[in-house]
């Protein structure tokens, strides 16, 4: 059994975890970043380019990984997390034990399982894919259907697994709209003459430069925005997909035949950590994410050495995620500094007691 001590253990080597790690390390703390996958980067690894300026995901990731290599433990399956008054103890599948006074949870999200929206036909029809899969195709520059042809008509379906009481996710995942627009434009750039239609129920583009992207999508790429929600997908005899929705502005039911459907899947909390630790599970909000969601101390109300940041405290884009991680990293810093001071005070008291 190997035992390792640190000032702070960070679970999850996504953008938030890496950002916090960088800051804490620069403040002189000893940290460990535990990652269950075989390489660090989190969901950034799935992405090719990022909205709103088409920056490469790798360009964002590489500076974060710099100087962090030795702190990151990959392929770690955490088995137990326990807390004594002084410290957290984390044990992994190799019985390696990590202890630290502060635990920083940045486990991020997992994409909604699109198969749960049965009527959309994900997992049943070829060429019904999720935004994550499309991003992979974009990354490999291989945007083809299963028959090897290039799609001519694509429908992007917004709010898959978001704001949907039927799958239990009543919240808005906040980044899918802009992701959809980014990907639609990307398709427009890569495949000349492609027709992309976005089926939305609300467009929520609340970030800087997002409106520019929206306008560019409309103006330069002629992406059609149709207000209506997909009701069912069926396959036609030639393998194309027949979709049914209501054009809610026209107030009429409508059908469209497309070659490919991209489901813009929402974010869900990755529950793997909360399942093994009741202490963490307690801090889950009504929407299923960690933290209170209140304006101040949104990530940690109790100040007991447990900190949350990133997409595990609610759907966020990368900027927001890293910003939150930075803020919380400084909270960790204060926490560690205060506990150090109180420890010195304790020692001082004990010394005086012994001497008196």
């Amino acid at each position: 059994m190997k035992r390792t001590e640190a000032d702070c253990i960070i679970i999850g080597a996504g953008p938030a975890g890496l950002k916090a790690g960088t800051i804490l390390q620069s403040l002189g703390y000893k940290i460990f970043i535990l990652e269950k996958e075989y390489q660090p980067g989190g969901k950034l690894l799935l992405w090719n380019t990022l909205f709103p300026h088409d920056e490469s995901a790798m360009e964002i990731l590489n500076p974060l990984l710099k100087d962090q290599k030795k702190n990151i433990m990959t392929s770690v399956q955490i088995e137990t997390i326990t807390k004594s008054p002084e410290e957290f103890t984390v044990a992994d599948q190799n019985q390696t034990i990590y202890t630290s006074p502060a635990l920083f949870i940045s486990t991020g999200f997992k994409p909604f399982n699109a198969g749960r929206k049965e009527e959309y036909g994900y997992g049943i029809y070829d060429n019904v894919i999720t935004s994550v899969e499309l991003e992979d195709k974009l990354k490999n520059n291989n945007i083809t259907m299963t028959n090897g042809k290039v799609p001519g008509k694509v429908a992007m379906i917004h709010c898959v697994g978001s704001r949907d009481i039927k799958v239990g996710n009543e919240y808005c995942s906040s980044v899918c709209c802009i992701t959809g627009i980014k990907q639609a434009m990307e398709l427009g750039k890569r495949i000349p003459g492609i027709q992309v239609s976005c089926l939305y129920m609300d467009l929520r583009l609340n970030g800087r430069f997002y409106e520019d992207n929206y306008k560019m999508a409309q103006m330069s790429h002629k992406i059609q925005f149709i207000r209506g929600r997909l009701s069912e997908t069926n396959e036609d005899v030639d393998g194309s997909l027949v979709i049914r929705y209501e054009d809610t502005l026209a107030g009429k039911p409508a059908k469209m035949i497309v070659d490919m459907i991209v489901l813009l899947v929402g974010m869900q909390l990755d529950k793997s950590v909360s399942r093994i630790c009741p202490l963490i599970n307690e801090q889950t909000g009504t929407d299923g994410f960690f933290g209170t969601g209140k304006i101040d101390f949104s990530s940690n109300p109790q100040k007991d050495g447990l900190f949350f940041a990133g997409a595990c405290t609610g759907p966020k884009n990368i900027t927001e995620s890293m910003n939150e991680a930075s803020r919380v990293a400084f909270e960790v810093h204060h926490f560690l500094k205060n506990s150090l001071i109180s420890e010195i005070h304790d020692r001082h008291d004990r010394f005086r007691l012994q001497n008196s």
């Binding site: 049965e118 009527e119 029809y125």
Partner: protein, 356 residues
């Protein structure tokens, strides 16, 4: 099409089906339209599978049709259904089998109401007692007759004389399965395979060697709709629905339509004639229609029952092409000779749709 994807749903939506000791309630309309169908069900269960099936001469309609056209009040319907349950208890059975999909939906709806509002159940108990001095017990297992056939599909398949395979080409027959709306659309968990991709008929067809067609308008209603059909002015809606479904399945060149609902069976069958008269279109080969059979009729045919004993001459669309493809041994001369040996009167021959 990813069949593996569908299997996920088929595995997810399963239900308990009793092994034996069935109390069988018949359908009001099916006995009149296709009198051989329910008889075939009883014979398959008793003779081929050796099960105990009780058909009660005392049971009445479930009032489903009256209920759906707003003629019968819900309380009355519930009391009538309570009476059926009391008859079942009286006969000493626990497992309720329903022949009609509308009834199946209605029974499930009422059981759901009673579960959520026990006070209503109490009240119905009171109504039943006051009107008939009976008491009832909720069945332990309530299934649709097609669920039973599904459960024993492998046993049936093992015994079959004919397969759903085209004996001329050796290829599987192309089969359209149509599930009655009330089978699973009200309570997806009550149907095998759920509401979006039901498996109850598809499973049977697969085990008999046929191939199920997934056509775009698969999920649409056959067009029956009580309010539509019973008012002549709105009958066009009913016809239009069937027309759309027929147009949608046409490119797949189906050999057979299988349904599990009395209404669907009837309307697919009869409307093909009306469409041929109004539009001049037929959907089978050489002016034939697409034969429409119930699940029991298909199973019975496969088991080697005589088609005329099954009452297949009561179908508008001639089944002879199907019998030919399946290689069923039958005597065309006795088609219109009844059980009593008397000649049934021959139908009028339509202009377009072929009748033999």
């Amino acid at each position: 099409m990813k069949v593996d994807g569908k299997k996920v749903f088929w595995n997810e939506y399963q239900k308990d089906i009793a092994d034996d000791q069935y109390y069988f309630v018949r359908s009001c309309i099916r006995q009149n339209f296709f009198p051989g169908a329910e008889e075939a069900f009883i014979r398959i269960l008793r003779n081929d599978l050796g099960k105990d099936l009780y058909t009660d001469p005392n049971h009445t309609t479930c009032t489903g049709i009256g209920y759906h056209v707003d003629l019968v009040k819900l309380e009355t319907t519930m009391t009538v259904i309570a009476r059926q349950f009391s008859l079942m208890a009286e006969a000493g059975y626990h497992n309720f089998v329903i022949s009609c999909v509308t009834s199946f939906g209605l029974y499930n709806e009422i059981l759901d109401i009673w579960e959520k509002h026990p006070e209503i159940e109490e009240q119905v108990r009171d109504y039943l007692y006051r009107s008939t001095e009976r008491e009832f017990r909720i069945p332990e297992n309530l299934v649709h007759a097609s669920d039973i056939i599904f459960k024993f599909k492998d046993q049936i398949a093992a015994k079959t004389r004919y397969k759903l395979v085209n004996q001329y080409t050796g290829k599987p027959l192309q089969v359209v399965e149509h599930i009655g709306c009330h089978y699973a659309k009200i309570f997806p968990e009550k149907g095998i395979g759920g509401a979006e991709h039901p498996y109850v008929l598809a499973g049977l067809i697969e085990s008999l060697g046929g191939e199920v067609i997934d056509y775009p308008e698969k999920r649409m209603c056959c067009g029956f709709g009580f309010r539509q059909y019973f008012i002549k002015a709105s009958r066009g809606y009913s016809l239009s629905c069937t027309y759309r479904k027929m147009k949608s399945m046409e490119p797949y060149q189906p050999d057979l339509i299988v349904t599990n609902c009395p209404g669907c069976n009837f309307f697919f069958d009869r409307w093909q004639y009306v469409i041929s008269e109004t539009k001049g279109e037929t959907y089978g080969e050489e002016g034939n229609g697409i034969p429409v059979l119930t699940y029991e009729e298909v199973a019975a045919l496969a088991l080697g029952y005589d088609p005329w004993h099954l009452g297949l001459q009561m179908h508008q669309v001639a089944v002879e092409p199907l019998l030919g493809k399946m290689g069923v041994d039958y005597d065309p001369a006795v088609k219109y000779i009844g059980f009593s040996g008397k000649q049934l009167s021959k139908p009028q021959i339509p202009d377009l749709l072929k009748v033999y």
